[in-house]
């Protein structure tokens, strides 16, 4: 990573999908990696099934702005395909998009799914994950978010054991089995890209 550059990650999805929870895991993992990191989120009415998004910035220099500019994000992690498209212009020219193919269509005027997928595939650096299939294979209904994070980890300067510690700590109150299932989902997502890509 570039020492003085400010790196940015945008996370998006629908209220209740766990966008803010993923952002907090990311923030903690970056902090434990010795980086300066900030996270921004908007709560309130957005908790009620509306669009939710969070941003995480990190750098080796101290940060004071929790907000990214358009074209300032290296990574967009989206739990829902339409909610990914809203934020594509936040990405740098060479940024990456990691997105679940699983739509949440309970809203008025959802565009045809084929149009959504076509628009996503037209984005250079887009990685679509069939989280529905993955959840079925792992027998873990909520595997999607952690799998996306696992794939995203290929682009982030965070060591394996830090991810493992942070994820374990996040879920340990819910028991060993929940923790294991989430680590498994993370690894499954991580396995979808073979080599680290670097941000």
């Amino acid at each position: 990573m570039n020492a003085s550059r400010i790196h940015g990650i945008v996370l998006s999805g629908v209220g209740g999908q766990g966008v803010l929870s993923l952002a907090q895991i990311l923030l903690e993992a970056l902090r434990r990696s010795g980086l300066h990191a900030l996270q921004s989120e908007i709560h309130g009415m957005s908790q009620r099934g509306g669009s939710v998004h969070a941003q995480v910035c990190y750098s080796e220099v101290p940060l004071s702005s929790p907000i990214l500019d358009e074209g300032g994000a290296d990574l967009l992690i989206a739990l829902e395909p339409l909610e990914a498209l809203r934020y594509v212009s936040m990405l740098r020219m060479n940024g990456h998009l990691i997105v679940s193919e699983e739509p949440q269509m309970d809203m008025a005027g959802y565009p045809p799914l084929d149009d959504i997928y076509a628009a996503l595939k037209a984005v250079r650096g887009a990685h679509l994950i069939d989280t529905e299939d993955l959840a079925r294979r792992l027998n873990h209904r909520q595997a999607g978010g952690m799998a996306l994070l696992g794939m995203a980890s290929r682009f982030l300067p965070i060591e394996d054991d830090i991810w493992r510690d942070v994820i374990t700590q996040r879920f340990e109150a819910k028991g060993a089995r929940v923790t294991e299932k989430n680590l498994e989902a993370f690894e499954a997502g991580r396995g979808l890209i073979q080599e680290p890509v670097g941000a």
């Binding site: 989120e41 309130g44 009620r48 004071s64 074209g71 005027g109």
Partner: protein, 548 residues
């Protein structure tokens, strides 16, 4: 290496208040201030050392509770959102005259851009209005450090101190370094000789007002060290506060030439005119970056010595929150192009009622009842809470939402102007907040007004905090003078729909005031089991005592 815990900006304020040794914290929930109270509440619960954290019925009550703690000689924190300060304004403005005993810090969270509010008023104006100091942090760590400082200032100057933050800072999460906590140390109550300072009869108030004005130079002497003039080599400068300061600070990393601009960095008000003049002497032009109103911009502009740019001359939008992009545009900095936005039309995905929410059943009953009495086009006065979502299409069940408690009084006003039936919809917590006095008037007005109280037993929208009206709504309604035979309690579930329609229709047709309480616990609260213990205790109590 970055250290210690992670916290939201608003939580950092709560942590600092605890560490500064407060005896009591009070507030009323409101985004984005809520987590400030919740952070200090959690620390106080863990400490188990006799301190208190108490949600209040409304912001004014919360402020007066804090003032009582201060009178008793202890430090205290009171939290609210910007519009909540309107409710507490009587207490806040007059506490400037009484002054404080123990340090009193008021956390106010403003919401520029109106992410979850009905306006974007600027609390700095209200501090100025009350002749009181206001501190304005720009990072999570500053939220902590300036809260700590605010307690010291409050006691040194013997006035309440406002700590003003905005949504972006309130909900920015970052590393936070805390100090060793102080234990609450009581100064003892207001001394005998100072009692008259706290009795604001005109003779005392006139004297205290003069005292307050005479104290202003001392206020400025304390706030000035928190403000900073950074010289530069250019004749164009920037004046910064809050997020403007945060965004500019980061831009300097990306555009090192910006460090050559002279800058006025403001973190505390009132601002010393001498500092403003010293800054203006260095520049021919200044761009002002501040959140909400053009407070600094107007002050600097009035001095007339430099061209002042910002929200008033169109260099920045007149409304809405700042962003790094707005700063760059105003400074003429280019932004490298990113990926192209999609050409697909993406409809907004707005918030909506949770699946299975009782409010939906209540509104469906109301709409059908209005149709059944031949008044389907009746304008319904709504209020602030999750149930405000009913204003959206396709439901469109409420037709006015103004401020907490307005529904009942507006419906009575409309009834007095001839509307019949007149209908108000209000939640249980909002009813306790400011619906009670409105209902007292409604019961006395002698007009046909139907008040629907949607009782979900918690403060739903802000995160299911406890409602002070819990289990007391009917008693409160009766106490306000509504006749017993005009109070109905209904269960908003689909299978009760027909019975509920008939009951609401009967209320609509009654010529005087009537109240229909729709009671079903918030779906989210049930999911979290928030009232399980409470309800079990109530059931146990009812087996041993006679209860209503």
């Amino acid at each position: 290496m970055v250290q210690s815990t992670l916290a939201l900006g608003v939580e950092a304020v709560g942590c600092a208040a605890f560490d500064a040794g407060i005896k009591g914290a009070f507030g009323y929930p409101g985004t984005p201030s809520t987590e400030g109270f919740e952070a200090v509440e959690q620390l106080i619960r863990q400490a188990q050392d006799g301190r208190v954290a108490q949600w209040a019925a409304n912001e004014k009550v919360a402020y007066d509770l804090a003032l009582g703690v201060s009178y008793s000689g202890f430090r205290t924190l009171v939290t609210m959102k910007h519009v909540g300060l309107n409710v507490a304004m009587d207490a806040y403005a007059n506490s400037a005259l009484t002054g404080v005993r123990g340090g009193l810090v008021l956390l106010v969270a403003d919401d520029p851009g109106m992410h979850s509010s009905q306006n974007e008023q600027d609390s700095r104006r209200l501090a100025e209005f009350a002749w009181l100091p206001c501190l304005e942090p720009s990072t999570v760590q500053e939220c902590y450090d300036l809260t700590f400082r605010a307690f010291e200032l409050s006691e040194a100057l013997q006035v309440p101190v406002m700590l003003r933050i905005v949504t972006r800072l309130a909900h920015c999460r970052a590393a936070l370094a805390r100090r060793a906590p102080l234990a609450p140390t009581g100064l003892g109550p207001v001394p005998e000789a100072a009692i008259q300072d706290w009795v604001l009869i005109p003779a005392n108030a006139r004297r205290r007002y003069v005292d307050l004005l005479e104290k202003q130079p001392r206020l400025m002497a304390e706030t000035t060290p928190l403000n900073r003039l950074v010289p530069g080599t250019k004749r164009r400068g920037v004046a910064l506060s809050g997020m403007g300061r945060a965004y500019f600070g980061q831009l300097i990393h990306e555009h090192p030439a910006l460090a050559e601009l002279p800058r006025l960095e403001i973190a505390a008000y009132p601002v010393d005119p001498a500092l403003e003049q010293a800054f203006l002497a260095q520049v021919d032009e200044v761009v002002v970056f501040e959140e909400d109103y053009p407070v600094l911009e107007e002050r600097l502009g009035l001095r007339g010595s430099a061209k002042v740019r910002g929200r008033l001359d169109g260099a920045l939008p007149r409304t809405g929150e700042l962003s790094p992009r707005l700063l760059k545009d105003a400074l003429g900095l280019a932004t490298p192009a990113g990926k192209a936005a999609t050409s697909l039309d993406l409809p907004i995905r707005g918030p909506r009622f949770c699946d299975g929410c009782g409010h939906v059943d209540a509104y469906e009953a109301l709409q059908e009842a209005l149709a059944s009495v031949g008044a389907p086009a009746t304008r319904v006065f709504g209020d602030i809470g999750c149930y405000t979502l009913a204003a959206q299409e396709p439901m469109a069940a409420i037709h006015a939402v103004v401020e907490m408690g307005a529904s009942i009084s507006m419906a009575v006003g409309a009834a007095l102007a001839g509307q019949t039936p007149a209908v108000a919809v209000i939640g249980d917590s909002t009813f306790g907040h400011s619906g009670l006095p409105a209902l007292l008037t409604a019961a006395d007005a002698g007009v046909n007004v139907t008040v629907m109280i949607l009782d979900n037993r918690v403060v739903g929208m802000t995160g299911q905090q406890p409602s002070q009206a819990l289990d007391q709504v009917e008693r409160m309604v009766r106490g306000m003078g509504v006749p017993d035979d005009q109070i109905q309690v209904l269960l908003p579930v689909p299978k009760q729909h027909d019975a509920n329609v008939a009951a609401v229709a009967a209320a609509l047709q009654h010529p005087g005031p009537s109240v229909v309480v729709f009671r079903r616990e918030c779906i989210q609260s049930i999911r979290r089991g928030l009232l399980k213990d409470h309800d079990r205790q109530e059931r146990e109590r009812c087996t041993t005592e006679v209860c209503s």
